[in-house]
Symmetry: C2
Subunit: 433 residues, 2 copies
Amino acid sequence: MIVGIDARDIRFPTSRHSHGSDAMNPDPDYSCAYVTLLMQGGKPGGNGLTFTIGRGNDLCVSAIQGLGKNLIGYTLDDFEEDLGLASRLLLHDSQYRWLGPEKGVVHLAAAALINAVWDALSKRAGQPLWRYISEMSSKRIASAIDFRHMRDYLPEAEAIARLEAQADGRHGRIATLLEDGYPAYTTSAGWIGYSDDNIIRRLKAAHAEGWRHFKIKVGGDLQSDIDRCALFRKTLGNDVRLSVDANQVWDVSEAVNAVEAMAPYDIYWVEEPISPDDVLGHKAIADAVAPIRIATGEHAHNKVMFKQFLQAEAIGFCQIDACRLAGVNEVLAVMLMADKANIPVCPHAGGVGLCEYVQHLSMIDYVCISGTMEERVIEHAAHLHEHFCHPIEIRNGRYLAPTAPGYSIDMWPESMKQFEFPHGEVWTEETVT
Amino acid sequence: MIVGIDARDIRFPTSRHSHGSDAMNPDPDYSCAYVTLLMQGGKPGGNGLTFTIGRGNDLCVSAIQGLGKNLIGYTLDDFEEDLGLASRLLLHDSQYRWLGPEKGVVHLAAAALINAVWDALSKRAGQPLWRYISEMSSKRIASAIDFRHMRDYLPEAEAIARLEAQADGRHGRIATLLEDGYPAYTTSAGWIGYSDDNIIRRLKAAHAEGWRHFKIKVGGDLQSDIDRCALFRKTLGNDVRLSVDANQVWDVSEAVNAVEAMAPYDIYWVEEPISPDDVLGHKAIADAVAPIRIATGEHAHNKVMFKQFLQAEAIGFCQIDACRLAGVNEVLAVMLMADKANIPVCPHAGGVGLCEYVQHLSMIDYVCISGTMEERVIEHAAHLHEHFCHPIEIRNGRYLAPTAPGYSIDMWPESMKQFEFPHGEVWTEETVT
């Protein structure tokens, strides 16, 4: 039985070296609100986190502590029996719901808690999360989903039918994953705060490691965006994929102009061109710049937003986030809708813990939902993996299938101690390193 | 100069009598995070609040304290000189922005702070807020707006032109407001937790006071919704207006069915039928139930959402909220877009302090933007006004124009002391009253 919720404010001073910098976020300090479910008798619970970029991470910690009370008194058996229970206990609390609804700090907090429950359940089953879910019946997977507000696009019966259609091939695909892993792309070479020399060096190193799909940050002044694309092609040639990410800084017409100016450099996708809430704006851009496709989702706050992006045919890639959406349950809902729309799911990662999380989600998508890796890639960034007990493993630009039980989000106690805000040693040292 | 931010957690135990109850929110405790700007030398600053319904109000208080640091060191002259400054200082903080962006707890907190700055500026000018803005040039009003992410619908030059088109008639409309006030409707008779007898008694009393437009809560089971509409017409007849509010509980097809079932009772608008994020869903319902019109907005979290509701012709009434949107600045942006779309602005109120706030906004809309009161009404609920130093004044179902300097949101110190959570006496009494 859950008897308490431990939540901690962990922050990494990534802004000191411009790691993670982009046109909207010049100085992120990659952070997380880290949850541990405290079980009766000190039995092992689950861990979860939600990702932020610094100031305000304390709000997520407080929201986890407050909202998390709704889980107290329930057992892992309760959650196992009703896979939608944790999600309902957290998202249907009407007083907390008012603060979103289903968005912002409260939703981020719910994500950390819900993911902690899934971590606990899959650990108890002795399986990595992706495998735990891959062994469930279609009906059971669908039982995790709250179909309220999405039935007009995907009702429950149709969701189950979509899962059933892929049920036969699951075991073959599990074997493929264990053997070959899952394709990926890297963002680590092109943060906006990096100098040209730094970018060239990082691109060459990543290429040597086997990467063939890269993303660089744009959204500065237009000429510098074009120069970055040119630098990329000059450094690595035309046989590799290039995606660009503007992190929401443009307006619709600016986005169209910018994409047209970068088009000669063979752009695979254009990510977050405008406000992440603007379904109709994305549609207008997508129509104007086709066949270049638009990607968004890391700030799409719930299934209703994704439903509309898909209904409107506004996006070409669906970038779910493991803890912007309310955990595994809501991600399953979105992946099923993306499958219906025939739009590839390419999760947002980087940050801290996001790579560890989303590898499971893409693998669930492959095994249970889409049945294909075609056009699908998991984002990769090279930072902060050393703080996790079971960090991601990359080989030749692919994620290896995780094998440790759980959701891969356990952090080393020593890391948490060192980086806890504001009293960990990295934040109290006189010298900024 | 602002030297500090005071933020307090004020909660009223309204759930004890089902005041404010609806299908989504059965037991709201109307609450607010109340801000006071602390000025150098103890000079008078401004007050602002953001409205919540209980649990999680503490998160808004914390967010105000953290985000509010961005205002420290600035003077009222700075804010007067650049009407967009406070808004930019709060909404463009990239680390806090990540937690939304521009939605949820952080946006609610920004609203309270921005409104406090407007309160301070209009108090210093010795004018009620609506009058303070009504005396500004068109260009100056537009300078308060951040046009990022809305230029595709309403660029700055067009916004100024729209304001200019109404500039000549402003003084006549100010005189009209001072004489006749502004039309309103009341929600106080039809909360979902009220018994039929209670509703009948309240409807009759409100009618006797001069009210002619009423809103009742629906979204229970369909038969009870129909019964409530029938009860309304039986009690007050057919010469008064009836709007209904489902508070988001339906899916698209449920909404269409329900509205068709209630249509014989002559429904003026249907409010919040589904998820407040679902622009395309609202459009589908609006098309299906025309000529009955759809209203939403109290949970539409920013100008980009309203932009889409208007672009898609998904709503027939635009229900701005004074502190769900990021304060006066973002409300001005939305009211100008609604004017372009020729959709009446009918603000969300009730709650605590919302009536006090939005009367100013509707009056600014009338004087500076739309130039008409046609089809426009301000929501009214009868609770909690006694806690404000300058409460709303209603006569014959109309709001009288406020005359006290500021944004009418000053709360009595005694009220705050009594209702502060968790140590105020109303929360520590043994006996629940």
